[in-house]
């Protein structure tokens, strides 16, 4: 009886110490989504600027960078220059950048793009369903979709040019070898 109690006490203490030490190895803000590695959910949303529809289908076979943003999101402003640079660099190639407006009014979002001079297409996700289907937590969030329509990666928080380039070039290399 005492023997069992002794072992149990030692095991409990050791177990707790190990678990808590391991806990340090983990970043509580690093939350994995369920969609990376899976086919990108299709969508057809109204464009922010004109009456047309932005859909994933129309970019079949291209590399798509989806960027979720909002006018009220401060880090989005931070990453905007990087997005602009990458957009200018790949304009007219097999790489497209699509913005998705997250929990924002159309007016405020239009204001924002006009102010920052963004010229890539943005789609309005009015009821938030599209963001839910991708497993979005909050803006800014960026998804890389390969030519095969599979989500290859995701970045949470403001993205820099380096990360964008790496994401895109990895996908380009992959589609070139196929």
């Amino acid at each position: 009886m005492n023997r069992i109690a002794r072992y149990a006490a030692v095991v409990l203490v050791l177990g707790l110490a190990v678990v808590l030490t391991l806990a340090f190895a983990r970043d509580p803000h690093d939350i994995k989504t369920g969609t990376v590695g899976k086919p990108a959910p299709g969508f057809a949303l109204p464009s922010l600027t004109d009456g047309t529809t932005v859909s994933l289908d129309q970019y079949q076979g291209k590399i798509v960078v989806l960027n979720f943003w909002a006018s009220w999101c401060i880090p989005c402003k931070e990453e905007n220059p990087a997005l602009t640079d990458v957009w200018e660099r790949y304009r007219g190639t097999d790489v497209v950048l699509i913005g998705v407006v997250f929990q924002d009014s159309a007016d405020a979002a239009r204001d924002y793009t006009a102010r920052l001079g963004n010229t890539w297409a943005s789609a309005l996700d009015g009821d938030g369903r599209m963001a839910l289907s991708y497993g979005v937590f909050g803006p800014p969030e960026t998804y890389f979709i390969g030519a095969d329509g599979i989500i290859a990666g995701r970045h949470i928080g403001p993205i820099d040019e380096q990360t964008l380039m790496t994401g895109i070039e990895t996908l380009r290399a992959k589609s070139a070898t196929r």
Partner: protein
């Protein structure tokens, strides 16, 4: 049986009946299903709150999606699976019983059963006050006097 025993048995039966009556299976309304499903979903932008509790906009659109799926006639499992597809198991606030995480359901039950067995065995064992340590008759008599003489 004595009258008091009858009364106690009847009272326990009454409580049992009341509990059984309220726990009886009954069809849930659509709103109740929405509540139940969204109470099990974690709000992605909150700190551990459920989609049902959170007033955030993300939670509101998730509730709306759940309500729509319920109206479309999807089962609870299908609706949960849709969210798991986008957010992973992380989105469920309680792990399923039949999974590797079933351990978390088993552990409390095991702790209670083991503990209760241990307590029972200790409680049942005769109260072994060593005979030699027991008071003598004279001591007991003296003790009774003392207790009786003590002002309450």
């Amino acid at each position: 049986m004595t009258a008091t025993r009858w009364i106690i048995v009847a009272a326990i039966l009454a409580v049992g009946l009341a509990v059984a009556w309220t726990a009886r299976p009954r069809p849930l309304t659509a709103a109740e299903r929405v509540d139940r499903i969204s109470a099990e979903l974690r709000c992605p932008v909150c700190q551990g709150l459920s989609v049902q509790d959170s007033p955030s906009e993300t939670a509101r659109s998730m509730r709306a999606l759940v309500a729509q799926r319920v109206a479309e006639g999807r089962t609870d499992d299908e609706i949960r699976a849709e969210f798991v597809r986008s957010y992973g198991d992380w989105i469920l606030l309680s792990p399923p019983l039949l999974s590797a995480s079933g351990l978390v359901w088993l552990a409390p039950v095991a702790a209670i059963v083991l503990g209760a067995m241990l307590a029972w065995s200790r409680a049942r064992a005769p109260a072994t006050v060593p005979a030699a340590a027991g008071p003598t008759d004279a001591e007991l008599r003296r003790l009774r006097e003392l207790v009786a003489s003590e002002p309450e």
